[in-house]
Amino acid sequence: MAVQPCRHLLCGHDISKAFVVERWPIIGKPRKQFTALEKVSFHIDEGETVGIVGESGSGKSTLGEILGGLRTCTEGSVHYKAVNIRDMNRNQFRVFRRNVQFIFQDPKGSMHPYFRIRDIIGEPLKTLKLCSDREEISSLVEEMLAQVGLDKDIADKYPGQLSGGQCQRVAIARALIVNPQIIICDEAVSALDVSVQAQILNLLKDLQRKHRMAYIFISHDIGVVNYMADRIVVMNRGSIVETGTAEQVFITPTHPYTKKLVASSFVN
């Protein structure tokens, strides 16, 4: 089937992903596979926030990574501004990678332990060849630190010296520094205490208003997703089982998993 050209900012068609769990010795051919995603379609437009919720292990992070070009899919395609990312030349791909940034679930794990925070935040500028002037990078880094509510002298520390919440804010600063169009937030605020969480969510909303950024907001916290997202996608065992506005999904859930999720939520 020919894939329709896509009008959305970013979209994925019938994405499937199988991980090789076991290989035959010597020949190296896959012996056992695990299907993490099965024919998932997804789209997002400028300035929009799409929430992805779903059971642990249902494939949310895998989907995010495929949409952001960090992983390839086994089947299906991802289009950024109507261009299939597989068909992009190097320059196009660099533009794509600049415009789609990530904030990960495990911020410490995604940071090099021997890099100073200053270099971690400034790194995307260098790898994406946006800026090489040290002074300029340095002032941008400090501006970002202020935006996420961190002190300037954190810049010279190492990730191991920060608390969980501080690390998460560094990750957010690193994503913001290249001024992306889309940020994929994978459990971006789940490690934060409520007051910092509120600060970050407010910040993300402000930035969205200012720069018309789009967010793919992966979270298990339906209170947060409900607050952030215009549209919500519910995943279960590798497929999308329900989509709709926050009201539709959380007030009149139809899938058993969504029902259970809403019923068990601590928030009221």
């Binding site: 919720v53 059971e55 642990s56 495990d106 794990g109 459990e187 007051s195 939520s265």
Partner: protein, 319 residues
């Protein structure tokens, strides 16, 4: 019941090599069968405190205390080797950073049973059986695939649950869980915490639950400690903290709990300002810059007070 003190920490201070204070004279007590919640601002020293109990403090930090007894063993006099054995054998730890706590090149099943085999006389088969049971109990369906996997083949929530299962392997006498459910949705979160609660009920295993989720702490804990900038601002029973909070920070914290009812366009309530560096209060209150009840006295002095029911707080005001 004669109350048995499991944790007796008096005046714990943690400093960097350069002498910067990170945790500033806190006291913690925990009794058998109790579930203690530790909440507080990000960067306030919750994890460092937990790590001291686990003898896992990073090498560039050092601690001192007037008293530091865990499960009857005095850390101030106990040798390095004995402390390590005590921790490995009797304390179950769920670290905040689950990803980096697991070894990437070792299969889950071998990691999970490692500590168990070291400290019990049971064989590999029994160990695996126990691992299987625990992994099921934390809500993992694909038990066999999980056990055969390497950590990087798992999702964040699965890794976190592996850590929880691992913490329970040795039938610990104390459980220290640092943000154990941040990667889990509410359905599994409840299942996991119910499991901890069951262990707590059955064996009277005391639990320290570090969490930023006040709703969860309210539900599972008997007593709460509220930390801010390396100090304990308030410590009381759950009822007291929620019905009669004495410290302005605690009040602010309760006010900012997000709820499903929040309107879309509305801004979330936040506590204005930033956590300032520990030890910069200069004898005064560490929270003063952000406090809406600030008085002149808060600049240079702070009053510690304990009212009825062991309700401790650190504030110049009475509410």
């Amino acid at each position: 019941m004669a109350e048995e003190k499991v944790l007796d920490i008096e005046n714990l201070t943690i400093r960097t090599q350069r002498g910067r204070t990170l945790v500033d004279g806190i006291s913690l007590h925990l009794y058998k069968g109790e579930v203690l919640g530790v909440v507080g601002e990000s960067g306030s020293g919750k994890t460092l405190t937990a790590k001291t109990i686990l003898n896992l403090l990073p090498e560039n930090l050092s601690w001192e205390a007037d008293r530091f007894a865990v499960l009857g063993a005095d850390y101030l006099t106990l040798g390095k080797k004995d402390t390590k054995a005590l921790v490995g054998q009797k304390i179950g730890y769920v670290p905040q950073n689950t990803g980096s706590y697991l070894h990437p090149m070792i299969r889950i099943k071998d990691q999970i049973i490692d500590g168990y085999l070291r400290y019990t006389k049971n064989n590999r088969g029994e160990a695996l059986e126990r691992a299987r049971e625990l992994v099921k109990a934390v809500g993992i369906r694909d038990t066999e695939r999980l056990l055969k996997s390497y950590p990087w083949q798992l999702s964040g929530g699965m890794r976190q649950r592996v850590n929880i299962a691992m913490a329970l392997m040795n039938q610990p006498r104390l459980i220290v869980a640092d943000e154990p459910t941040t990667a889990l949705d509410s359905t599994i979160q409840m299942q996991v915490l119910d499991l901890l609660k069951t262990v707590n009920d059955l064996y009277e295993t005391p639990v320290i639950l570090v969490s930023h989720d006040l709703g969860l702490v309210k539900y599972y804990c008997e007593r709460i400690v509220v930390m801010y900038a390396g100090q304990i601002m308030e410590a009381a029973t759950v009822e007291q903290v929620f019905s009669n909070p004495k410290h302005p920070y605690t009040r602010a914290l309760i006010k900012v709990i997000p709820s499903l009812n929040i309107k879309k366009g509305e801004r979330l309530a936040e506590i204005p300002g930033q956590l300032n560096a520990v030890g910069t209060a200069g004898g005064g209150c560490a929270f003063k810059e952000r406090c809406s009840f600030r008085q002149e006295a808060c600049e240079y002095t702070i009053r510690e007070k304990t009212v009825a029911d062991n309700h401790y707080y650190r504030c110049n005001l009475d509410f």
